[in-house]
Amino acid sequence: MKKQRRVHEFKPGSVFYACLVYLFLYLPIFVVIAFSFNTSKMNITFEGFTLEWYGRMFENRQLMQSFFNTVIVAGVSTVLSVIIGTLCALGLYKFEFKLKNVLSTSLYIPIVIPELVFAIALLIFFTSLNISMNMATLIISHVTFSMPFVVITVRARLAGFDRSVEEAARDLGANEFRTFMRVTLPMISPGVLSGGMLALTMSLDDVVVSFFTAGPESTTLPLKILGMVRKGVSPDVNALSTLMIVGTIVILLTSTMIQGRLERKM
């Protein structure tokens, strides 16, 4: 069902323009990566290649802590979002109920309102309940903004789904649970996976919400960097940032490939 597009050739003007935009998008990322291998302590000129900072970063306890916090928050909030969000999408697909429209609309609130508003709302909420900010508040906040993306992605997958396939499974002797495990779940798995990827991306990318809902012990790497920027950033931060950039890209690239394979099979 591929659309037949006319064969397009690169036009020199287009190529130049696209390269310029890509350069704009990638230059700062390259700078961070390049300076992580720089022998100089100052992020000014590249003086020589070294892996020193990749060793040094492990000695910076606070920095490592913030890195692990980032990973833990992203991991836990993604798993929670995927479970809760997939269940919700299934419920919205299967059942008719009174609050369905309210729920469907509410799901878009975290997506459209500015993160800042949502962040201070949570800050006020937690503070008024005398809950001090910690990993739990951070994870809760991340789930709140990433879970709707899972619901919407999985729901989109379910929308293009032929109900008679589930009926066929029932017809062939599978009960409701077996039908879910053997047919529904495998069929929505690409949607669940891409929802999970979105949730992970949202969590790793977040600064604003974390800024208000993280406690002193649960600060994340981006927040740590934000605190250091004015004073000047040490090269081990570049090393750790590089690690985070590369790690994220590897994980998401792998998931994209798995997802592509799952979808192609069907």
């Binding site: 597009r5 998008l25 919700c88 059942f95 109920f97 729920l103 459209v112 006020i124 989109a156």
Partner: protein, 284 residues
């Protein structure tokens, strides 16, 4: 009876957790914001339960007027630049040779997958007085003294455009991809020249993408306080930083709440306009 009980159990078991979650961690906190906007701040940075409208009245102080004007202008500039730069870019990618397209789309996705603060921090490094760009400019002889580029309004705009450009491009790219190429051929067949094919067919049909992209750029830009923290000077105050300050340094929560409500109202107005041309589904 048993059937309906089972159905209710099914509904509760599936959408229940989400409903509870959104109720407790989204709707109640938002109600708190509205509630607190009518209370009075006390001397210790907390809140007294004295109902007042004075927080709303203080919005009309001239200093806040300037903050709003500056912020809206910055967000508008950001959106317009992102659109002007992003549309042709999205168009080029969507019409690239088949062999290249997956790779180009992937290249577009990668910045999404990288934390926007870390990306912007790269610009901070580049723009410093003693940074690479200044070195380069001096080396090629454009200038003999380092230029003050970081901590200016221009740097903030650059940071905003940089952080949000992918969010503008992606919805536009999707809407161009959806375009049926036979429509373009039909338009050409009916006598439209290249310019007219674009203005009369391509542009109207990709409008939903343009609107979705603009909204996804404009709304977050209002709250991205960390960009101005990293790239801007102390001269210009934006609404995001103003709100942040009410909760951290100034500790005037009621005022912060009122300012947040202003942001919500701006968002609602924009969404109202948006749902006339596009659907919510296109936003996600």
């Amino acid at each position: 009876m048993i059937k309906s009980f089972k159905k209710h159990l099914g509904i509760f078991g599936t959408v229940g957790p989400t409903m509870l979650w959104l109720g407790v961690f989204l709707l109640i906190p938002l109600i708190y914001v509205i509630g607190i906007s009518f209370l009075t701040k006390n001397a210790y940075g907390g809140v007294d339960f004295t109902v007042t409208l004075s927080n709303y009245v203080s919005l009309f102080q001239s200093e806040y007027g300037k903050v709003f004007a500056d912020s809206l202008l910055l967000s508008l500039e950001t959106t317009v630049i992102c659109l002007l730069a992003g549309y042709p870019f999205a168009y080029i990618i969507a019409n690239a040779p088949k062999k290249w397209k997956p790779f180009l789309v992937l290249l577009l996705m990668l910045p999404f997958w990288t934390n926007s603060l870390i990306r912007t921090y790269g610009w901070n490094t580049l723009l410093r007085t003693e940074g690479i760009i200044n070195h380069f400019l001096q080396w090629i002889g454009v200038t003999d003294r380092p230029l003050e580029m970081l901590y200016t309004d221009g740097a903030v705009l650059l940071g905003m455009v940089y952080a949000l450009l992918p969010f503008t491009v992606l919805p536009i790219h999707t809407s161009i991809e959806k375009l049926d190429p036979s429509l373009l051929e039909a338009a050409g067949d009916l006598g439209a020249g290249k310019v007219h094919v674009f203005t009369r067919v391509v542009l109207p049909l990709t409008m939903p993408g343009i609107f979705a992209g603009s909204i996804q750029t404009f709304i977050p830009s209002l709250g991205f306080f960390f960009i101005s923290d990293m790239m801007g000077g102390a001269k210009t105050m934006y609404i995001g930083n103003l709100i942040k300050n009410q909760f951290l340094s100034a500790r005037n929560w009621p005022l912060g709440a009122v300012l947040s409500i202003v942001l919500i109202v701006i968002t609602l107005i924009l969404m109202r306009l948006y749902t006339r041309v596009g659907s919510l589904e296109d936003m996600a």
